[in-house]
């Protein structure tokens, strides 16, 4: 396999854009990534587009607007991991030598579904019995609180930190700072979560151009090397499982660290899948940033805030930046690429060398999650 780098990154501010089509939402991110890379359109040999609910031929509809057509375009659906999975497919093709330059898009338009919880697959038995994503994470949170003594105030602090970071990101859907009291007093969604414990619904897009290292020098002044590109599906278990540890992330992180030749202690900055407050804490532990049961302490000590030992979600994360499902994985990568290039201004993690993205989701009975994709980058 050849070494591969990200040479271009672009995204649009996440938010509600009900009057725009999917292509209108996405093309500015694609154009920005192409311009950032400094490639000419004919040099892009293939494209992968990740979207969970964008509908048929999303990639073609977007690239029609950009005038990038005729090349192989593959549309990828893997719930929240759609565009991180799309990135991995592009990475495989470039690392394998099939193409030198490829484009990855992540896009979603959730405003087409109205508000409320994410529409889940009705054929699933638990969904048909009233399972919702907030309920699933709520049960994880309640059990974790029982087993490890996590308090509601500590849980609320995850949202406070996310908004503190998001306030510094012009691409974030929510840029307001909030307090623990405000989090706890917001409208209840699924105990122990109020609205501010849950990522918002919205629209958005992000895009990346990747290239084989052998040609990357031709285009970008600051290529960011892909050290690991990992994807796992959940393990179906018919019996009991410990809901306080996400086995798919534990398993995937081990593989990703092995592939990258680094460990959790080497990670300078991470974007993790904080769809709900409890999720971020579970992922501190699953990704090895702290031991089981120590996540709240890591947060309270400020270690995962900007200026701490391992800043997590400097972009604001899903909670503040937003979570247009299929766009999230690519947007996490855009943030890490910009962090590793030192372009993040007020939310820059000083001296960041190694960055990690973690994107997981897909509520299916009997699975921890349907999919999880972890990437590790170095400047």
């Amino acid at each position: 396999m050849r070494d591969v780098s990200v040479i271009g990154a672009g995204m649009v501010r996440f938010g509600k854009q009900p009057d725009k089509t999917l292509a209108e939402i996405a093309w500015p991110a694609v154009k920005q990534a192409i311009d950032d890379a400094g490639v000419s359109k004919p040099e892009i040999e293939a494209a992968w587009c990740g979207t969970a609910l964008g509908g048929m031929m999303s990639g073609q509809r977007i690239l029609k607007a950009v005038g990038l057509t005729g090349l192989p375009i593959v549309n990828v659906e893997n719930a929240c991991s759609s565009s991180s999975s799309a990135f991995r497919e592009a990475w495989i093709a470039v690392a394998g030598g099939l193409y030198d330059v490829a484009l990855v898009i992540g896009v979603e338009k959730l405003t087409r579904f109205g508000g409320g919880t994410l529409p889940l697959e009705r054929e699933d038995f638990e969904v048909a019995h009233g399972m919702t994503m907030p309920a699933l994470y709520g049960m994880r949170a309640k059990r974790y609180m029982h087993d490890y003594g996590l308090t509601p105030e500590q849980l609320a602090m995850v949202a406070v930190k996310a908004h503190d970071h998001g306030a510094l990101n012009e691409d974030a859907q929510y840029r307001n700072r909030i307090t623990v009291d405000e989090v706890m007093a917001a409208r209840p969604i699924a105990d122990p979560f109020t609205l501010l414990h849950c990522c918002p619904s919205g629209d958005g897009a992000a895009a990346l151009v990747i290239a084989a290292d052998s040609v990357a020098g031709r285009y970008s002044g600051k290529p960011v090397r892909v050290l690991a590109s990992e994807l796992a599906s959940g393990k179906y278990m018919t019996g009991f499982r410990d809901m306080t540890t996400p086995e798919i992330t534990v398993r995937g992180a081990k593989k990703a660290y092995e592939m990258a030749g680094v460990g959790p202690e080497d990670v300078d900055v991470a974007e993790v899948h904080d769809a709900f407050t409890i999720a971020e804490l579970l992922y501190y532990e699953a990704l090895g940033f702290c031991e089981r049961g120590d996540a709240a302490g890591l947060l309270e000590d400020g270690e995962t805030s900007l200026g701490g030992r391992i800043p997590v979600n400097p972009s604001g994360g899903l909670l503040s930046k937003g979570h247009p499902i299929g766009a999230t994985g690519a947007a996490q990568m855009v943030e890490i690429v910009r962090q590793l290039r030192g372009e993040c201004g007020g939310r820059q993690v000083e001296g960041a060398r190694v960055g990690l993205t973690h994107c997981t989701g897909g509520g299916i009975s009997g699975f921890d999650h349907g999919a999880c994709s972890i990437h590790i980058f170095r400047n």
Binding site: M139, P188, A190, P192
Partner: protein, 144 residues
């Protein structure tokens, strides 16, 4: 709720629940003839060994509450708020369920719960539907 002469609202759980002659529900899983894997809801294919000889197996009527939370926002049709939970049955099967006849503050982790049925919402035509549910096995106090 008062007794009515109407038929019980239809159960939405399909083959996963069976109503006994005494009016009590039984959850039905399936068991693989080849590897003895037990699974809920029932399936035609064993996910462990791909055996197709799956026979219906009645599951125990009581278990322990692994976790639970009150759901305030749900898709249209569900009567909110409701309590969602996971119940671990003695057969080694975990069942997603609604928890009824108690408020969340009256529940606790690993509490013993037993099977019942309950009206859980209304369908698109405004007709009530029901399904299996679990409730605390011991009476709960109002001032808990």
């Amino acid at each position: 709720m008062s007794e009515t002469v109407h038929a019980e609202p239809p159960l939405i759980a399909g083959a996963a629940v069976r109503m006994e002659e005494d009016g009590r529900p039984t959850l039905i899983g399936s068991e693989c003839a080849d590897c003895a894997t037990r699974i809920f809801p029932p399936t035609a294919l064993c996910p462990e060994c791909m055996g197709e000889e799956m026979s219906p197996v009645p599951l125990g009527r009581s278990g322990r509450l692994y976790s639970y939370c009150t759901v305030h926002v749900a898709p249209r049709g569900w009567s909110v708020p409701y309590i969602a939970g996971y119940v671990d049955l003695p057969e080694g099967v975990r069942v997603f369920t609604h928890v009824v006849d108690a408020a969340e503050r009256q529940l606790s982790m690993e509490m013993e719960v037993e099977l019942t049925t309950a009206i859980l919402g209304t369908d698109g035509d405004g007709e009530a539907f029901s399904s299996y549910a679990f409730r605390p096995r011991q009476p709960v106090s109002d001032d808990a």
